[in-house]
Symmetry: C2
């Protein structure tokens, strides 16, 4: 059983989008992997717990990445001169095909996992590839890292090159069942998540099979939605009976409601799709850098927040180049300003507080009580030595947070806790 | 006299916007601070020159920042929730007023100069403040750093708080002359540049004085142009006789032609202003991150390139948070994609090659033959150890450059040469 402990430092966290809670020289008490509370003075009853004094350093909740493609880390930063569908054909599919080879997968995934371990994210939802051994290998490495993750073997049986197309819906489903059997009981911190790539790559038959598997195993699900105008038009052609892209997932019982679901992007979601996302409690993974790099557009996040949708942030590596959700926070603020200026001046830009909320509580809620230091919440924490980001005048904790969001890198992270365990 | 030397490594540079020149395991020969040539095999006649073997590392030209506010480095990343004019009032002016105090200026500028020294830029055009001692202090520190820079004592005599307003046009001009006298003969690598803040902060009388000083001293000039819609509208009110914002500078003989001139931003320049920029050979400093952070918009850089305008990149710290022009390259590509998607699909996004050109040759041309490894050009070079950015498969030199642009930081820079001198 995990024992209790106390962290001392400059604590900063969110519990709603508009307010930062801060406590200079405060005490964060953790017991059994969960937060007991944040205190100005350490209550006597915790006086016997071991205390780590991070005086002068920031203590922040761990960050949550709701959308990352594990195999694509290998080619991040490359080939970013194409739009989504052409980019998939030219770069993504050929690169993902390499994960048939276990030796390659081992090398590539080790690089990814080491980056994730050292970075500021404590929880990540990842796409693997169609390949069973490689996906298990990724899960093994993630388990060893101490991060808490959900990982999906990808399903795709149409509209992709032979080398990456599963033989049939039945074969894809059988592989998925085999994968779930292999996962069972194997991990403490690594959960499988159903991962149909997106409607264009999944036949109706495959989606029905996945609906069946979902009902049997009660798995969460992740996929893509309304990322690029050409993709949206293509789905309209492929599913003429569906009233919107989201409705095409819904038709197979794979769009939220009883199925905890993440849909990445939602850049071009219109009224009906927004209502469906809201009704069915789907998490939107907002991936601002990817939507920029692939010329997809700028998602109307202000509208999502106003409607009370569930929203978190995603790196979408390798549409995005950066795994850090600090970067995604900065990107989210920045693109929201361009949207306000160039598209819709009724939608106010995101504030730093809102972006911080999205990257902690917003995405964390997909994992449960994660992303804040409220009592009873799982204790994911980053210790940040922001002294190298100091100004020639004193900074408040919110100002120091702003510096960390815009300017920090992995050098500044001196310790990292996930679910109450220190992973470095 | 600087002696000659040879650098060996993987060389990559630009001489026009569309082509990267690369030479794996090549030799870069430097004599008297200038490039002699790039060779596949080292010619015998250079066999006696000392050779530094940077095998496996990238050798790139130094980067050029055409627009940076020295005093604003202190508050980078803070207060980015306002538009330009409100941001100047709330954050910039109060922060710049602090540079009256030399002790503060010394601390703050030392932090900036150390960041610049360690970063990838080798040439920078900087705004100081109105303060003489602080501006000389900044110049002293820059001179010690080994960077080549142009620095301006700022002129501003209206529309700003008392604490930062020069007493009168005459007082501002007198201070400027005193500053130029103090600079004379003092530096090898640090040049003064005339720096009227922008039309709203400079009276007509002051602009006439500066025109006179410019003609006497033959100084280059830097200022701001058409950054924000409200600013543009304000200039229209202030200068009803001018046909556009640029024309307001021109009226005082301070808009290019015989005066080498940088105008930062040009986000909202219309047809007439573009023609004026072109005719008069003005350099546009494109500052994509600042234009995003301050919700200014996205400058139509494709249009500038198509018309043959002179364009370089600017960090615009602290409208931008990052001093590195690698970051400005990535930002320039990214915002050009959003502009293509959201504003004008006739303007193709920038390529990596184009962004690299802008951040090297494009800005470097303001300093002379700077930013390339063509024979006779000044030898500014970065040695980049990009091994930590490796992929699980071999990368070409252009792919490695892409990684460096999107993902590198100062850790990756292992040596830096400016004008043929190694500064670390």
């Amino acid at each position: 059983m995990k024992s209790g402990f106390v962290l001392k430092g400059d604590i900063c966290y969110s519990r709603n989008p508009n307010v930062l809670h801060t406590r200079q020289d405060g005490y964060l008490v953790c017991e059994k992997g969960r937060v007991t509370g944040v205190f100005e003075q350490l209550p006597e009853r915790y006086g016997d717990l071991p205390l780590s004094d991070f005086g002068g350093k920031l203590i922040l909740p761990g960050l949550v990445d709701l959308h990352c493609h594990g195999p694509q880390f290998a080619f991040r930063g490359l080939g970013l001169d194409l739009e989504l569908l052409d980019w998939l054909e030219a770069h993504t599919f050929p690169n993902e095909a390499k994960y048939r080879q276990e030796a390659y997968a081992r090398t590539a995934y080790a690089m990814l996992v080491e980056e994730l371990r050292r970075g500021p994210n404590t929880r990540v939802c990842l796409f693997g590839t169609i390949h069973l051994p490689a996906t298990l290998l990724l899960m093994d490495l993630l388990e060893q890292s101490g991060l808490v993750t959900m990982v999906g073997k990808v399903n795709m049986d149409r509209n992709c090159p032979d080398i990456l197309r599963e033989e049939s819906a039945a074969a894809s489903a059988a592989d998925t069942r085999r994968w779930l059997k292999d996962c069972a009981g194997r991990y403490r911190n690594t959960r499988p998540i159903l991962t149909p790539r997106f409607i264009p790559a999944c036949s109706g038959e495959l989606m029905r099979e996945l609906g069946q598997i979902q009902r049997e195993y009660h798995l969460p699900l992740q996929s893509h939605l309304s990322e690029n105008p050409k993709e949206v038009a293509w789905v309209k052609e492929l599913c003429p009976q569906s009233s919107c892209y989201g409705d095409a997932y819904r038709a197979f019982g794979l769009f939220g409601a009883e199925v905890p679901t993440i849909m990445a992007h939602c850049v071009w979601s219109e009224e009906e799709e927004l209502s469906l996302l809201k009704e069915r409690g789907v998490w939107v993974a907002h991936c601002p850098q990817s939507n920029t790099n692939l010329s997809s557009g700028i998602a109307p996040v202000r509208r999502y927040l106003d409607r009370g949708l569930r929203v978190g942030l995603g790196s979408d590596v390798a549409g995005g180049c950066h795994t850090s959700i600090f970067r995604a926070m900065a990107d989210a603020i920045q693109v929201s300003k361009l949207r306000w200026r160039l598209v819709e001046d009724g939608e106010a830009p995101l504030s730093l507080e809102e972006a911080f909320y999205l990257g902690t509580v917003g995405g964390g809620s997909f994992f449960g009580k994660v992303g804040s230091f409220e009592p009873g919440w799982e204790m994911d924490a980053l210790i940040i030595d922001d002294a190298p980001l100091a100004a020639p005048f004193p900074l408040t904790i919110p100002q120091r947070l702003a510096r960390v969001v815009y300017l920090s890198d992995d050098r500044h992270i001196v310790a990292k806790y996930v679910g109450g365990s220190r992973i470095f």
